[in-house]
Symmetry: C2
Subunit: 515 residues, 2 copies
């Protein structure tokens, strides 16, 4: 039996485009004499559709497209993911289903059982056993994180999924390694705003060994022949930073292409965050589609301009230098009847970041260049950034990447040749909002900061547990105090490409809380 | 049997303050010879704690405080709400419980069964029957939206809850009107950022008639005597706009007091939204704690200043006039090498709103005045507002109030005497970002706009269903297109006080979606 695996990239609600892709793969599978072609979870409508799942016309369109796909599927079977109505319920609740089409007719539906918290808002869970008999074989079907049924005589399991990339978490196939029969896993690929589906579909033999492996982050189409003998693959070398890099590239690419955007902008400070964002964006959408601004203030050091210009030149990105001093002075002069002779404070610091924000948004509004946010997860965690200034942007490239990993990304970007000037990487990080300012004036060293944040956020540890690990009491207390105090900034940050175990969009700290 | 009802206002995680309130009510109940004192759902820790519920130290503190409360409770029984550990589970999952304390000892736990989607992220559900026998009576207990058990011989039901205010939805007691025994409902009161708990606790007799009623939006303490004969109360006159007004006032008050904030600012445009926000804020935290800015541009009409000044003077609020023209010109001059001689566009329009934003934030940062956002729900729905300008603020007062209701609020505020100048209410709404601009140039009439939005958002109708109601095709299509296109702005808006059936924070439209 020949089974085609279609690892594809869909857009949410773009039914025409998604259906065309699906049709092409069905045609290709037929021409290669496949008996069955398998598509990922939520193929027809894309993932994740949020509250449009509750609109009847969205579901009706999904059903119409599915019917059209079915009529094309004579002489082949198709297993494909999409939401389907639950007929018994009054309210518009749906299942997250795998649909089996045989010779042009929808014959079976297999519903997802283990729903994530987000999914449980929209989907019903199901208890039906999910397997079917076909060509004298008993095939188990499961969706997403479900595992195949315990059932006698199963000869093959098929998992369709839409699994997101998570940095340093590449053990997805483990959940199937104890089944006693081959498993085919077909994953979505591609990004829809925050979510990056990683692809990397695979086939395990009955011993749980990988015998087929599709690539990360790109579409692919492979035929698996159940009658053929496959040697187990050598264990994959895993370059975690390389994967993170590729996930972010795909995140940027799909954000632009799926929204119909072409050009980008950002503020290039000479620091490492904006440098890494620019290098990633240049690779994702092309240097020729990016126009950046260098926005020095009177507190900017000379190397900031040199480093920023060096990077823009290395990448061939168009840049303009717009000093902000005159606007800053004019603004303070307008405020002087109110500020009188009060000393320089955070008001003046933030004012500089906000003037940069309005200049970048002015360029964005004038030319349609999408503003890329350059905050990193460490800053976002402790609120080290100006709201309505540094937090601006349509999408945050590094908002879910800790600062210590931003450094690793910079080294990875420079792996072939120096793209990001070495000085940008080695100099002490600074916001340059007052003379001789350095991040370490107000924050712990990033190694320590990130380690504490990682324990609290990703590992769910309490303050006491972190203290017992040997971190300094003052530093831990300060870090967690900052973390809790700046939730109001995080809630106003633009969406960030999600690559960690615990992205901020999925966790929420109460704004009014004394704990 | 005398049962004390303690309708109280708690802060999330402020265990000391919450415990003091609880102790005082226990003392008061004892001194009035009550047999039992009842507190609302989630009293000990406040509601809603979000992800701190998953931190062990938060739960341990809750348990310690509960133990301390228990030791004070000799000679009286206490029924009180708080999260409690589920001992069987490995991960930190908890129940939303009502705890019974008798003579200083915790004797029973009753767990919530029907969880909202948000609650289901943190709480487990339970199937145990929730009643207890006490002084020869069988008393049913239920938490939140649960209804009392079907069980023979129940003589009384007690519901503890934390029910949020929803505009035009005052039928909460209906869920108990068919029980065959008296029902005591004890609700939380007070706001924690977005959530406004309405109070309005009550007692129904066995015919479902209201015999005791506590007030909306304020703490109260009442003794209900089961042996006394109460006459049914006359049906309550319900002034919906008055309730909305009071809910927003409490929302502002508690946002400031619980965060330890004292002073506010906002930009006063002469339009109705900022006028209503200022009037509400002045009532909530006092005129003397507010300092506003009037920020006219060259496109501002003369009546904008007159109207804004009139309001500030009526309320006795300190104001400064800071014309933005010089900053605007200086910014355009800095951008002129980039903008060259391109025509005036949305870039220049937004620039004015953003300059206002940075001036307000400068004042906020300098003096600690919290910026109140003045967007309304209609604007937020269709994206009629400048991101990083109009959307700025720590909390949005009207972000969940449709424009047509903002007009009603203005009339309600003026019910005794003219506070908001009549001209502010009757003039056509305008953003004044280019000459002679009016909202109706780019948006449908607000009556029509709000009606369409209400059907789509609050009633969950599809485009087709709305068209069948008789709205113009072009207008419906445009409204829904705008609604879907500006989700990126909504996701960056500050938290809004939630008063509608479907606040935007609870619904989400995918950013990348072609549907």
């Amino acid at each position: 039996m020949k089974i085609a695996i279609a690892q594809q990239n869909y857009s949410v609600g773009d039914f025409g485009k998604n259906a065309t892709k699906i049709s092409k793969a069905i045609f290709e599978a037929k021409s290669q004499k496949a008996d069955l072609v398998v598509f990922p979870e939520m193929s027809v409508c894309g993932s994740f559709p949020f509250d449009v799942l509750q609109k009847e016309d969205f579901l009706e369109t999904t059903m119409q497209v599915l019917q059209r796909i079915a009529t094309e599927s004579y002489e082949i079977a198709v297993l494909i993911g999409c939401p389907t109505y639950c007929e018994d319920e009054n309210e518009t609740k749906v299942y997250d289903s795998a649909i089996l089409i045989e010779n042009g007719i929808i014959t079976r539906r297999f519903n997802k059982k283990n729903l994530s918290h987000l999914e449980s808002k929209y989907f019903l869970t199901d208890t039906e056993k999910n397997f079917f008999e076909w060509k004298n074989q008993k095939i188990a079907v499961c969706v997403g994180d479900d595992v195949p049924e315990e059932e006698n005589g199963i000869s093959l399991a098929i998992n369709i999924t839409a699994k997101q990339f998570k940095y340093k978490d590449s053990h997805f196939s483990d959940q199937f390694s104890k089944t006693q029969y081959p498993v085919i896993c077909v994953n979505q690929v591609g990004a829809n705003t925050e979510r990056v589906f990683e692809g990397h579909s695979f086939v395990l033999n009955k011993n749980g060994e990988k015998i087929l492996q599709l690539p990360y982050f790109t579409e692919d189409f492979v035929i698996f022949d159940t009658d053929k003998n496959y040697e187990p693959l050598a264990k994959e070398e895993c370059n975690e930073i390389g994967l993170l890099h590729d996930a972010l590239i795909l995140g940027i690419q799909d954000y632009f292409s799926k929204n119909g955007f072409k050009t980008a902008t950002l503020g290039l400070s000479g620091g490492i965050d904006s440098a890494v964002v620019l290098a990633l964006a240049a690779e994702a959408i092309g240097s020729e589609n990016i126009r950046v601004l260098l926005l020095p203030s009177e507190y900017s050091t000379s190397h900031s301009i040199t480093d920023a210009e060096g990077l823009a030149k290395n990448l061939g990105v168009q840049y303009d230098i717009v000093p902000i001093k005159s606007i800053y002075n004019e603004t303070l002069s307008a405020l002087s009847p109110i500020f009188k002779d009060l000393p320089f404070s955070v008001a003046e610091e933030n004012l500089q970041a906000r003037i940069r924000g309005i200049l970048l948004m002015a360029l964005s509004n004038k030319f349609g260049n999408i503003l890329l946010n350059t905050s990193n997860k460490s800053e976002v965690a402790v609120g080290y950034g100006t709201l309505y200034g540094d937090t601006n942007g349509s999408v945050s490239v590094l908002g879910d990447v800790y600062k210590t990993d931003v450094f690793k990304l910079a080294r990875y970007i420079n792996r072939g040749k120096e793209i990001i000037p070495e000085h940008t990487i080695i100099k002490p990080p600074s916001a340059e909002l007052h003379p001789n300012q350095q991040d370490s004036d107000s924050l712990p060293n990033y190694d320590v900061l990130d380690a504490i944040l990682y324990q609290y956020i990703e590992c769910g540890k309490t303050q006491d547990e972190i203290l017992k690990m040997g971190f300094e009491k003052d530093v831990v207390e300060k870090t967690l105090r900052l973390l809790k105090r700046c939730e109001f900034k995080r809630q106003q940050l633009c969406p960030a490409i999600r690559v960690s175990q615990k992205p901020f969009g999925e966790i929420q700290i109460p704004l009014i809380a004394k704990f």
